[in-house]
Symmetry: C2
Subunit: 340 residues, 2 copies
DNA sequence: TTTATTTGTTCCAACGTTTGAACAATACTA
DNA sequence: TAGTATTGTTCAAACGTTGGAACAAATAAA
């Protein structure tokens, strides 16, 4: 015989012979309530295990103090680290977050957006799914609540954004590979319709050109950057008439797949083919050889995205923020020919 | 000049010259509302981009259709897969989930519980943090809403539970190691105060005894099972006067740490020391050598936990479910002496 | 034609909290 | 001692939605 009874402000009022409004004011430290009453109210609140009903207060105040976060997938160090830092920053400011994942699917993303809007979140912080090309749903968010994007976001939406300089990242990667005497550099890329991957491709091309190099068009291969994509494309590159002597992969997981294929084919990394990934996922330092990669500063991105949201809530009409962080190349064994 | 104006049932009513309650009934297909009115209402709802206000309806109905999920950390294949399957199952039944992570910290866990209760979720599905020994907060959940536990849960709480047979898992592991002619088997364990780890330890001891083996007490070493714990303890075992010839690690991440130390010390795995982890995290198949491990059926656990919740919501007084799944030993290179 | 039934709608109270206004009681000022 | 200020509380309306009861109009049954 269980009774899942939640106590309300009324119950406290009844115990103390007060009105609900007196209790409400006491709980929120209203100046006109006597210290004695406040103390009594707070004691009974604890005694009755009172939990404020968020639904009613949010309804009344028109503010939920809830922020929705949409990420492509939770099972990635980059995204979960961003997540954690968003949460940490917002918690300090009295907000709670609802995290959802799109699984890189447009349909799921739309569904999550609808749910979050229904819940009346005070804002949404998101990184777009790989599949997303239609921006309608994001425009819908914009018309209903605050929106901050990070990492994967489109300029067209004209909202606050935090990310790294993807164009420059490719320069760091290519310049380093060139310094390692690589000259036939292929690029396992993300889909060009996503801005960050487009920028990485653009940076890759420009950096090659700067060094007087050029890559055949079929050395830029777009994909979803999953493990199996990395494997498939690396095999494809190995089978091509002229093999590259370096491969720049736009994501670490795909880079791992590529590394597997290289090892399975007994190709020496980095001597025969050098390899560089993207994101600094923890496993890149654990593989044999360890994988060079680009650090995207996930901790800072989360913090900055949360702060951008907080600023916008405080002052909705301030001008749009675009925060672009400096990428950092982490050189490990897979691209360091000097070390070995 | 933006107007983040949300339209309400009142706006629709005003447009059509109806009352809000007529609109509400039309939207929920009340039988007494004429088809004509329903059509008109639904059209205007779309035209005005009407989004039902979840706060008010949840408040009124006393049901939020929101379920809180608390997991120790999101960045683990096991937990994120459970998560995904909980979400999938609950979504099909009209529920949305709010996922939170405790980061294995008791304080964070309590905070998350309070938030979820404040939000008035219809139930909580959780796996306890490593740190948690005091069950007060879980009893609090029980007194306020429905609670389902998975993987890490205590029997004392007497709530629905889904997990695997940890005692048996250890038997599978030890029996396999014995079949590989290992006789000095150490155990890098989780903390004994957590039931699942206690069970793994108990199974390990009993299985050893069954095979006429015994391990010195200092070969059962409890820890948080993080990467660095695995490294530290493995080093400790290597430095001990009599080295083990097999190590059974109660978590994959710690097993990876142990493997790193073994490789750094040029110890042949599995010939000199065999290694087995726990959870079937994806990276276990990617290491060199690949790591044997125990499959916990994360997909099923999520589905079953969600179903347990749904059943309890429908029928609060049905008797407590304890669903125990069969563990599955996945034999890979790190423990297979025959293969090599 | 009167009475009963069905249909489509409005009315109203409620969910739990918040907040400005109103009020009574006490304390301070002239 | 009357008048004003201060203090501590209650009152009442509101947030948006819901759902039972009430009601009027149209239709069916007697």
């Amino acid at each position: 015989m269980e009774n899942k009874k939640k106590s309300t402000i009324k119950d406290i009022a009844a115990v103390l012979g007060l009105t609900p409004s007196a209790v409400s004011k006491a709980l929120s430290d209203h100046p006109r309530i006597s210290e004695k009453t406040k103390l009594a109210v707070k004691e009974t609140a604890i005694k009755l295990d009172y939990q404020p009903n968020y639904l009613s207060s949010a309804l009344r105040k028109g503010k939920s103090n809830l922020v929705g976060v949409i990420i492509p997938r939770v099972n990635s160090h980059f995204f979960s680290s961003v997540m954690e830092n968003i949460e940490k920053t917002l918690n300090l400011n009295g907000y709670n977050i609802i995290m959802t994942q799109s699984n890189e699917l447009y349909a799921k993303e739309c569904q999550e957006i609808d749910t979050l809007l229904k819940i009346q979140v005070d804002g949404i912080i998101a990184s777009m799914a790989n599949e997303t090309t239609d921006l309608e749903y994001y425009k819908k968010i914009k018309s209903k609540t605050e929106l901050v994007l990070f990492d994967r976001g489109e300029e067209e939406l004209n909202v606050d954004y935090v990310g790294i300089d993807d164009y420059k990242s490719s320069h760091l990667v290519v310049d380093h590979l060139v310094s390692q005497k690589c000259s036939r550099i292929a690029h396992i890329a993300g889909f060009k319709h996503i801005r960050i991957y487009k920028e990485r491709i653009r940076g890759y091309k420009d950096a090659l050109e700067k060094s007087g190099l050029a890559a055949p068009d079929n050395w830029i291969i777009e994909s979803n950057l999953r493990l199996e994509d990395g494997r498939r494309i690396m095999q494809q590159l190995l089978d091509s008439p002229e093999r590259p002597d370096a491969v720049y992969v736009a994501g670490d997981i795909a880079a791992l797949g590529a590394l597997q294929i290289l090892l399975e084919n007994n190709i020496k990394v980095p001597e025969e083919i050098a390899l560089i990934g993207f994101s600094d996922e923890p496993f890149t330092s654990l593989t044999q050889p360890s994988i060079s990669t680009v650090n995207q500063h996930s901790d800072q991105i989360g913090k900055l995205a949360a702060e951008a949201f907080l600023q916008r809530i405080t002052n909705p009409k301030q001008k749009i923020n675009r925060i672009i962080l400096e990428p950092e190349l982490i050189i490990r064994q897979s691209s360091n020919r000097n070390l070995k």
